[in-house]
């Protein structure tokens, strides 16, 4: 493509660490499910801790959460058509690799754990067949239902070594904070498989989405994802997960990153003040935060003042930051514009692709 509007044309382009693949309908999963689960899916659907059968408690302000131009020809759902994904995003932006994060169905929050295990296998097989096989630029996440640790481990072991999967997906809104002991066998399995954990905002855990109960508006729900991401990072550090598996990496996806500097200071101050309660934590929490966690760029907090965004990125640590578009969502970030112009070109390349290539073992 030789269009001057697309500066990556002809160059090795970005690695996009957050793309949401869609289905025309859940029938796309049928070939990947046993008969009994096909019937179950059709009769009972996905069973979540939420008010409505077919919509979220806080409906999005954009249909399908999508940008308005992301409907493929023929009106198929956004993200459901590989050709259109290529045309509108992968080819247009010369994306080197795109990492898929399937959000629907909500496997990790499915209350029926036998069904959840079947759905996990189906979604992962669907990623392979519909996306990885025809499109080598696409990689994905092993979806599991964490509340059945044995089934989750079996799922990880099934796909370990498959070149399409670059991480294990876990939700930041789960039944318990992810650092709790019940989830530790999953971290062991991921570490053994050499896979990082991708924690993308998701999950219908049944807990009120704020510490003071249920708010009214979608914007509040959106912001509660940041609370969940922080709570998850805190839990993984304080419980000792990042101590027990110091080489395991956690990618915090779609949770912002500007909050992490204040949090690092708060965690260190907390660790000192509650030292007798956290006696098992030998190193300062800020060291864990800098070592074990990566952050994707979308959505990014945007200061008013010129230069503050760059300062923020450098403070978090350029090497920790991974570009993500969140295609096809309404708050999508275009890689042409998303990274501030006053970063050095080495810093830009790190964020746009080199950090992700190193983390996920992707050849550029």
């Amino acid at each position: 493509m030789s269009d001057a509007r697309f500066p990556f044309a002809g160059l090795t382009g970005p690695i996009d660490c957050d793309i949401h693949p869609g289905m025309v309908s859940l029938a796309e999963l049928f070939p990947h499910l046993e008969g009994r689960w096909v019937d179950h899916l059709q009769a009972y659907g996905v069973h979540l801790r939420q008010t409505f059968a077919n919509t979220m408690t806080y409906p999005r302000l954009a249909r399908d959460t999508a940008r308005s131009d992301a409907w493929p020809p023929g009106g198929k759902p956004p993200g459901s058509d590989l050709d259109f994904l290529r045309e509108q995003h992968l080819d247009a932006q010369n994306i080197a690799y795109g990492i898929l994060q399937p959000l629907r169905p909500g496997v990790a929050s499915e209350r029926n754990l036998s069904f959840a295990a079947a759905l996990a296998r189906a979604v992962n097989s669907w990623q392979v067949e519909k996306w990885f096989k025809p499109e080598p630029r696409l990689k994905g996440s092993i979806v599991v239902a964490p509340d059945d640790a044995d089934a989750a481990i079996a799922e990880i072991e099934h796909w370990a070594g498959h070149p399409g999967f670059v991480q294990v997906a876990l939700p930041p809104k789960s039944l318990e904070p992810l650092g709790r002991k019940r989830y530790w066998p999953i971290f062991e399995a991921a570490a053994k498989a050499g896979l990082p954990i991708g924690i993308h905002v998701s999950g219908v855990a049944g807990h009120a989405i704020t510490a003071s109960g249920w708010p009214s508006f979608y914007a509040e729900d959106h912001n509660s994802n940041i609370a969940a991401i922080q709570a998850t990072a805190i839990s993984l550090i304080f419980e000792g997960v990042t101590t027990r598996w110091p080489d395991l990496r956690f990618v915090l996806i779609e949770g912002g990153l500007g909050w992490s500097t204040a949090l690092a200071a708060r965690l260190d101050r907390t660790w000192v003040r509650f030292s007798s309660e956290l006696a098992h934590l030998i190193e300062a929490p800020s060291i864990h935060l800098k070592r074990s966690f990566h952050f994707t760029t979308q959505p990014i907090e945007e200061p008013d003042r010129k230069g503050m965004l760059t300062e923020m990125l450098r403070e978090v640590g350029i090497e920790r930051i991974l570009f993500a578009s969140d295609y096809p969502h309404w708050d999508y970030d275009d890689p042409r514009y998303a990274i501030p112009g006053d970063l050095t070109s080495v810093e830009r390349q790190a964020i746009l692709r080199n950090n992700a290539a190193a983390l996920y073992g992707l050849k550029l």
Binding site: K173, A208, A211, P303
Partner: protein
């Protein structure tokens, strides 16, 4: 420093016996027969180092319970001309709404007699039964003429986000009487302290406080409380504070994309925060507190929001004055000018 105001100190009930004289016979008997045991909040168990410093043991005088000691340490040695007393009591969180109302009334009466009457420099925050809004309004109206009370104190973790319409009569009554609304950590634990459930450690609950403040502030703003009550001032207390500018950036951006759901918002949320929200700067989550303050002002685009507080007797820092090195003009702003903006009722009496 002249005319400085300490925006957050914590007097404490040594035992529930102190409260009994302020209860009517029916509630007196309830208290005595049910053994509620002074209603210390789970958020601040009395022996925890954060609550009381190291070395406090049962049998020792409870830090914050001795008027003379507080007067000496906060007012005389600290050099304050006014200190706002914020009670951290579970009275407001009692499940029985009538019991909660009686206990809150008694706590406010206890505060008035035991503290506010002992030294003209003490100011008080009203505790109110958040789950009994008519009684809360009645309590605010009862004390509207007593200018020793300057604030209505609400706690961070309740059953329903504070912006929701069931609480609006509280804001209406507060605005009418010029009471500031203060929000302080302390949770009823009716909900998990995080959206992903219950952490294991008290340290973890503590670390998760800033997102809880985001939720409450977002609720107040998005529900339109500041539009409905344009004179209302809200103070965020003991939050760690360095989370706030980042939240302002994030919410301003989020509002641009989601504002059709909240069409009553007439300006960007960060504008609303700069104009009507204040925050105490003790403790501050920053490796270097002085640099942290400077960055706060820069990042939030305001030096008018920040309030000096000692947070006595909580043990948040090893250095009793973490702000030495701060320019005196800023110290003046935070300890004198800003508190007077945040607490219009403070200047109504005395020479402050």
């Amino acid at each position: 420093m002249t005319k400085s105001i300490d925006c957050d100190i914590h007097p404490a009930l040594a035992s529930v016996k102190e409260l009994i004289p302020f209860l009517d016979p029916y509630w007196r008997e309830m208290e005595e027969s049910r053994g509620t045991n002074a209603l210390y909040m789970s958020s601040y168990p009395p022996a925890m180092p954060l609550s009381a410093g190291l070395g406090w043991k049962t049998g020792d005088p409870l830090p914050g319970a001795d008027v003379e000691a507080v007067r000496r340490q906060v007012l005389d040695v600290g050099g304050c001309d006014a200190a706002v007393c914020n009670l951290l009591s579970g009275a407001a969180m009692v499940a029985n709404p009538y019991y909660a109302a009686a206990l809150c009334r008694a706590m406010n009466d206890w505060l008035a007699e035991t503290w506010l009457a002992q030294d003209r420099r003490f100011r008080g925050s009203l505790v109110v039964p958040i789950n009994n809004v008519p009684a809360a309004v009645e309590e605010i109206e009862r004390r509207a003429g007593d200018y020793r009370f300057v604030q209505v104190l609400l706690y961070l973790g309740g059953e329903t986000p504070l912006g929701r319409m069931q609480f609006w009569p509280i804001y209406e009554a507060a605005e009418k009487a010029d009471f500031t609304i203060g929000i302080h950590p302390g949770t009823a634990y009716r909900h998990a302290p995080t959206p992903t459930g219950w952490p294991s450690f008290r340290a973890e609950d503590y670390a998760n406080i800033p997102p809880a403040f985001e939720g409450q502030l977002m609720s107040l703003i998005s529900e339109g409380v500041f539009q409905k009550y344009p004179k209302l001032r809200v103070v965020i207390l003991e939050s760690g504070v360095t989370w706030l500018p980042v939240f302002m950036w994030r919410y301003a951006k989020l509002w641009r994309g989601t504002r059709r759901e909240t069409p009553w918002l007439d300006r960007s949320p960060d504008e609303i925060i700069r104009q009507q929200v204040f925050a105490s700067i003790a403790p501050i989550d920053a490796a270097d507190p002085v640099r942290g303050i400077e960055r706060l002002c820069e990042a939030a685009g305001s030096d008018g929001m920040w309030l000096y507080a000692s947070d006595y007797p909580h043990w948040q820092f090893d250095d009793p004055d973490p702000f030495h090195g701060l320019p005196s003009s800023l110290r003046e702003r935070f300890a004198t000018e800003n508190p007077r903006s945040a607490y219009p009722r403070i200047a109504r009496i005395l020479n402050v």
